[in-house]
């Protein structure tokens, strides 16, 4: 019963009932325990990113149920889903997705500011987080002044800001050379050892090495566990 996330019979169909109907996910079932590091593999278009978005409450399943800490999130409103993303999820994307107008420090502060955390606490925690990803010296740099690896570490610090239950990473090393990619993998492994649960969509075999479980998605189905 330590399932932090449970996915039951989830289907995702775009343009349902129309001639261009597209079934992306078919009857997905999965359970994720706290502290796991799951790597999801699959060819592009297999639906793995969609699954990640559904687990992360960025998207809704067409059918089926998603439980987060035992709570069914299928019927929740936009705002309720936003609160779950804010408090329980941390996202890391292939494109880093930092806000270009904000400094490193402000980017990490963003989720805490959205959750109305006290200003001083926010600043203190953001600094600590950046220090923990070895960016303590780059607080006032803007994203364009950082390298890819640095941007991804900022994104990682941002994902940790509100102490999420799960960190969802969509090809986190996909835009990095193998050396910086490895740094990010090492960082994720380090955080996983601290107790953070990871779900990583990836092509990167380096990640597979450390994953506690590997899932393969093809044609909208999980093939191997």
């Amino acid at each position: 019963m330590n399932n932090i996330i449970e996915v039951k019979d989830v289907k995702k169909i775009y343009n349902q009932g129309k001639p261009n109907e597209l079934i992306v996910l078919k009857d997905i079932d999965m359970k994720i325990k706290k502290g796991e590091m799951i790597a999801i593999f699959g060819p592009s278009g297999s639906g793995k990113s969609t699954l990640l978005h559904i687990i992360g409450c960025l998207d809704r399943a067409t059918k089926g149920k998603v439980y987060i800490e035992g709570k069914d999130v299928s019927g929740l409103s936009d705002d309720e889903l936003a609160f779950i993303r804010r408090d329980k999820m941390g996202f890391v994307f292939q494109q880093f997705n930092l806000v270009s107008a904000l400094t490193t420090l402000e980017n990490v502060e963003l989720p805490m500011r959205i959750s109305n955390m006290n200003r001083e606490k926010t600043r203190k925690r953001a600094k600590e987080l950046l220090k923990s990803v070895d960016l303590g010296e780059r607080l006032n740099h803007f994203p364009r002044q950082l390298s890819g690896g640095e941007m991804q570490r900022v994104a990682m610090a941002r994902a940790l800001a509100n102490e999420p239950d799960v960190i969802l990473a969509d090809e986190p090393t996909g835009n990095l050379d193998s050396k910086t990619g490895e740094e990010i993998v090492n960082l994720m492994v380090k955080l996983n050892k601290k107790g953070y649960t990871f779900i990583i969509v990836t092509h990167d075999l380096a990640i597979a090495k450390y994953a506690s479980r590997k899932l393969n998605i093809k044609d909208g189905k999980i093939w191997r566990r």
Partner: protein, 378 residues
């Protein structure tokens, strides 16, 4: 909320030129509203002021007297009464006066009519900026001096420096009114205090009541009659009514012109905000991914557009005030142009409204963005 404002400022400063131009569009509209509005306020003030001498006052007399000329004797307008009237709501000022009518000359009417006025307030009877043929105006409440109408002085061969006797007291002729100033040929104007003393009066013949707002003169007169059974209150309502209609027309016209230009500014804001959210689509998606609710995004965008219009609004009020101030020197007719606090606050509220009006659609669009699509957007 503080955080939101901080973020909003950051966002609008990213495109300084565009923000500046958009705010400038609002500025023009608000400047027009303030400058034109101040002119209409000025015209309003001028008409109000004129009207107070031209019938914009209420004439209060005792009901027992058959008219203002007969006011003395049976009058009941005591000093106490004046104070009651003065404190009546909607009353700006009460100016007492008295009348003494000389012997009736057959076929000609009274030999003279003496009007007792407070020298400080004589314009209520003889008009503003009193025009003298010679001599000076009355100076003090109790001095034994008189002003004569041009015709009376001529008829009786009197000039400045002569004396004239009433009730066995000598009064010095200190001035002669210009021809055409008095509406009666036989008019004599005397300081009220001296008149009360010499004729031994203990109440006044009539009082002018000046309303706070000439437009409400009619209802004020009615209220006075309701409250004071024994007094009658008369107005020259027709004039006041027409004048207030003219003022309203001018006001609507000027605010209309200003309003149209401000609305154009508001459309500029909408345009800018739509462009801004298109450019920041991805960023809005990111904010949503890290937990921003639709309302957070909506508030954020609205705040940005209101900040832009308020910058335009504040600068517009300043520029409009400056314009209104310089207009005073440009034309005597606009000497009263003034930016009232209501006008300034109203303009800022309107600027805020423009921000909400121009920002709502883009903000709503931004709030409704699908985060996944927005994040993918390049």
């Amino acid at each position: 909320m503080n955080d939101l404002i901080d973020l909003a400022f950051k966002n609008i400063l990213r495109t300084k030129t565009r923000t500046g131009l958009t705010a400038f569009g609002v500025l023009i509209g608000i400047t027009a509203i303030v400058a034109l509005g101040s002119i209409s306020e000025g015209i309003n003030a001028m008409i109000n002021e004129e009207l107070q001498f031209l019938g914009g006052t209420i004439i209060v007399t005792s009901k027992e007297a058959s008219g203002i000329m007969m006011g003395f004797g049976g009058s009941e307008i005591t000093t106490e009464r004046l104070n009651e009237l003065e404190s009546f709501s909607g009353v700006k000022q009460v100016v007492p006066l008295s009348f003494v009518v000389g012997e009736i000359v057959p076929m000609q009417g009274p030999e003279y009519v003496i009007v007792g006025v407070d020298p400080d307030q004589q314009e209520f009877y003889v008009g503003k900026g009193i025009e003298l043929d010679s001599g000076r105006e009355l100076e003090s409440y109790n001095e034994f001096s008189v002003l004569l109408s041009y015709q009376y002085a001529e008829e009786h061969n009197l000039e400045v420096g002569d004396t004239i006797e009433f009730e066995e007291e000598d009064f010095e002729v200190v001035g002669v009114l210009g021809p055409g100033v008095a509406d009666q040929d036989n008019l004599i104007v005397m300081p009220l205090g001296a008149m009360m003393d010499v004729y031994d009066l203990d109440s006044y013949g009539a009082a002018y009541v000046v309303p706070d707002d000439v437009g409400k003169i009619e209802s004020l007169a009615e209220e006075i009659e309701d409250d004071f059974d024994d007094l009658s209150a008369q107005t020259q309502a027709e004039i006041a009514n027409q004048a207030s209609q003219i003022v309203d027309t001018i006001r609507i016209f000027t605010l209309g012109i200003g309003g149209i230009s401000a609305v154009v500014g508001g459309l500029g804001v909408m345009n800018t905000m739509i462009m801004s959210i298109m450019e920041r689509r991805r960023e809005i998606g990111i904010m949503k991914a890290v937990g921003a609710t639709n309302r957070f995004i909506l508030t954020q965008i609205l705040l940005e557009s209101v900040i832009i219009t308020l910058i335009g609004g504040v600068l517009g009020v300043m520029l409009g005030s400056l314009g209104s101030y310089s207009l005073r020197f440009a034309s005597e007719g606009l000497a009263h142009a003034s930016v009232t606090p209501q006008l300034a606050i109203g303009s800022l509220l309107f600027a805020t409204f423009l921000g909400l009006f121009g920002g709502f659609y883009p903000a709503w669009k931004a709030a409704k963005l699908d985060p996944i699509e927005a994040i993918r957007y390049e």
